[in-house]
């Protein structure tokens, strides 16, 4: 295969790191399903099939300065943004030390102020106006940052999607809206969700830049998000990007996807799985050797094992703590 990452300014080390984060997200996800089926955690919401877009996007942003408003499938994004495997496991076991919510929210409801990662809820797309507010505030203060928000294609039908995009367009704000189109809103397929060809076609209606890219390719994600970020920094306003992905798992651990799609369809999609195809790319260039791959898998497994163990043994929040932080508490 042709080396595509060099032209984008990436070293072999960079793309290996990119792959390692994608793989870590995947392996965490797989472990969560095992823990769920073993009765250790009540619920899983998955990232599988979307890691490439998430990690590629994160690499195009300034992870020391920019703000992210993720949604519940963004394992790859939050790991790339600085969340640790241990923190991910604490989140899924809903323990007191979970930095996202201390066990108050369901798993995958991210939020980490130290990392400039906004907290979000379960009613979808509410984070879009928040990301616009971050960009508006930064513009008022003269801070040169980008506000990056992600959501599914189901979310793109919500009123808040439109209101946020329109507001950002009117005020030419440095926001990147990235739709992770995984082809399903739980069971509802694309044809029943929207009548245009691409979500990114809507960009024109908001006076912004729009682009659809292969969501299985982290380098395509990087290129698209980089272009959007460059535009934002130049004062050219927001962008609407669409990562064409596929949700490889059921919606959640409580869903049975075989009631609305076929095994064959999922098997076909798996052939394009970004974690697999990017590994093939790295192998073909001799960057991911057998030895390196083994080391990487072992390192990830060790981290997940230790983190799972830690999170399982960690304490739940004190029941009395439910009364805290409804409002600001002095001291």
């Amino acid at each position: 295969m042709e080396n595509r990452h060099q032209a984008l300014g990436f070293s072999d080390q960079d793309v290996l790191k990119m792959y390692e984060i994608m793989l870590t997200a995947r392996r965490i996800d797989e472990r969560l399903w095992l823990l769920n089926r073993a009765g250790k955690i009540p619920f899983v919401v998955s990232c599988q099939g979307q890691e490439a877009a998430q990690v590629g996007a994160a690499f195009a942003l300034n992870r020391e300065k920019d703000y992210v408003a993720p949604y519940y499938r963004d394992f790859g994004l939050v790991l790339a943004w600085g969340m640790t495997v241990r923190e991910m496991m604490l989140n899924n076991f809903a323990k007191a030390e979970d930095p996202n919510s201390g066990g108050r929210q369901m798993p995958g409801h991210f939020g980490y102020r130290k990392l400039r990662m906004l907290t979000h809820s379960s009613p979808v797309t509410t984070q879009n106006p928040h990301a616009v507010g971050i960009a508006l505030a930064a513009k008022l203060r003269g801070d040169d940052i980008v506000s990056f928000v992600t959501f599914g294609e189901g979310s793109s039908n919500q009123g808040d999607f439109h209101e946020a995009a329109n507001f950002a367009g009117v005020h030419k704000l440095p926001v990147i809206f990235m739709c992770e189109n995984n082809h399903y809103a739980i069971s509802v397929s694309l044809k029943q969700q929207f009548a245009c060809d691409h979500i990114s076609d809507r960009a024109k209606g908001y006076g912004m830049f729009g682009k659809t890219f292969d969501g299985n390719d982290p380098l395509a994600a990087y290129e698209a998000v980089k272009e959007a970020a460059d535009r934002a920094h130049r004062g050219e306003g927001p962008s609407l990007l669409e990562a064409d992905c596929y949700r490889l798992t059921p919606h959640t651990s409580d869903d049975n996807d075989m009631t609305y799609r076929t095994k064959e369809e999922v098997a076909t999609a798996k052939k394009h799985d970004g974690v697999m195809t990017f590994a093939d790319y790295l192998r073909s260039l001799g960057i991911l050797t057998e030895e390196k791959e083994k080391e990487m898998e072992e390192r990830i497994r060790k981290d997940i094992d230790e983190s799972t163990d830690y999170a399982e043994k960690a304490a739940f929040a004190d029941p009395e703590s439910v009364f805290r932080y409804v409002y600001e508490e002095k001291d």
Binding site: Y67, P99, N100, S101, G102, R104, Q105, H109, G111, Y112, R113, L118, T119, S121, P123, T126, N128, P129, H130, A131, V132, G133, I134, A135, L136, A137, A138, L140, R141, S147, G159, D160, E163, A164, N166, F167, V170, R324, Y325, V326, Y327, E328, E329
Partner: protein, 327 residues
Amino acid sequence: MAVISYIEAITQALKEEMERDENVFIMGEDVGKRGGVFQATKGLYEEFGQKRVIDTPLAESAIVGVGIGAAMYGMRPVAEMQFADFMLPATNQIISEAAKTRYRSNNDWSVPLTIRAPYGGGVHGGLYHSQSMEAIFANVPGLKIVMPSTPYDVKGLLKASIRDPDPVIFFEHKRAYRLIKGEVPDEEYVLPIGKADVKREGEDVTVITYGLAVHFALQAAEKLAAEGISTHVLDLQTVYPLDKETVIEAARKTGKVLLVTEDTKEGSVISEVAATIAENCLFDLDAPIRRLAAPDVPPMPYAAPLEKTCMLQPDQVEHAIRELAEF
């Protein structure tokens, strides 16, 4: 001390807070060049410019939602809903987001956002420019709901709302805007959110209310004083969370309690006040708790006679106090 109107108190509070803190900014429909459809932001666009007095697209969920994001960044946004009736598209942002951000993030993030909204009837506003919306938000922990009655309270409480570290809904009675005038000190002051205020001391009957109805109660009290009926008037000011201690104290003082709202009766803010008194003051009461509210029909029709039937009237308050006094 200067005498100013209710709406002038709003403008003054906004102006002074914007001068004091550069993080304070205003966003909403028509708040800029137009100065607001009621003129609450009059002159602020000229003084502070379009960066701090932002005319937004007509989209309430975005006005609140973008305000939440800006507040999370460290700003102090004041979001204007043109009419409280039009807040409903923003309800998800208010209830699911602003109210729960601190709690769900375990105190990591917070939303110091003020949402101003004109409410209330008696202005020929029909079904969608007259409503009282407080009950919709008054069982949402994480929110504070302020509903002042006088220019003095408006100014002190709006400043407190803007400085508050948590989201505050600030409901302004639109009929009070120009009808109610009052003295406001020249020097700077801020009033506490979460405190009810005794507007008149009395011995025979306690009236607990808020907003424009406070003035109806005070007028009635003045009139009834001539008949030898002494009325105690408590202004809730903050309708959520309730100042339960002061409510209980006021109920115990006379043992006869009239609760007044211009909202529809069932499930209203005063229903919660009634429950609080029932739970705590049973043996102090000399009469059943009485509630005076709008009928349980969609408030309120446009045609004058229909509106009058739905809108709380001062003489109703007077009659109710007299009846309780005679009980």
